[in-house]
Assembly symmetry: C2
DNA sequence: CTGAATCCAGATGGATACTG
DNA sequence: CAGTATCCATCTGGATTCAG
């Protein structure tokens, strides 16, 4: 009977859907880097992140942060400073990404060695 | 002295660059899903993957597979069948992505519960 | 079956200037 | 400082057709 095979395939489809769900939340050129920046410092201001993430424009940073906020990954706080500054931090949910970030960082080093390095 | 701070910042920059390296290799709408498909079955033909990855077109699949091949993540083998079939499998290097895939799958489930679920 | 080629709409993202 | 608005080139990706 194909019961086991079907169960396996269903499991596999579920896994693929989950992976896709993750990627949908983390897509875009910069999101992971932005999260990585905020994560490392705990709290981070707009201009700090703009500085951390090499190459990003304020237009993009603004947009990506907004999407991350919608996905409840970062929390935005306006501070009573003059001029106004805005602080971003990871939500509890956003913090659950730490393992992934860490893995991506490690794998990135490995990959660079493999492809670029001799 | 700012030695510790500078060391930390340099460490942080390195981490961000690594994460970005990973994302560069894994960007595109479908790559992770494709890898996930091949990974689970060990070997997988073009049409199988086309079927596994919901919504992808053959044009995109072809393109993404080519990029994955360039990055030495998948290996392509033409089989002597009639008509010709092509088999894809992960390289050793591609297999090092398993941890990330697994984590992304788990996080995807978590995220879906958090955002979509009540 | 496995692609490559073409066409084309819509998304992405940089540069720049502007606002509160 | 933290965005927003506008303009515009490039990229993305679907649909369809064709080829080996």
């Amino acid at each position: 009977m194909g019961c086991k095979i079907e169960a396996f395939q269903q499991e596999q489809r579920k896994r693929m859907r989950s992976v896709q769900d993750s990627m949908d939340a983390l897509n875009g050129k910069w999101k992971i880097s932005i999260i990585s920046s905020i994560c490392c410092y705990g709290k981070r201001r707009f201009s700090d992140i703009l500085n951390d993430v090499e190459g990003i424009s304020n237009r993009m940073l603004s947009k990506e942060l907004k999407e991350l906020e919608i996905n409840q990954l970062v929390k935005r706080t306006v501070l009573n400073t003059q001029p106004i500054t805005v602080q971003y931090e990871l939500t509890e949910h956003g913090n659950t990404l730490q393992t992934i970030i860490s893995n991506l960082s490690n794998w990135g080093i490995l990959h660079r060695k493999k492809i670029v390095g001799k």
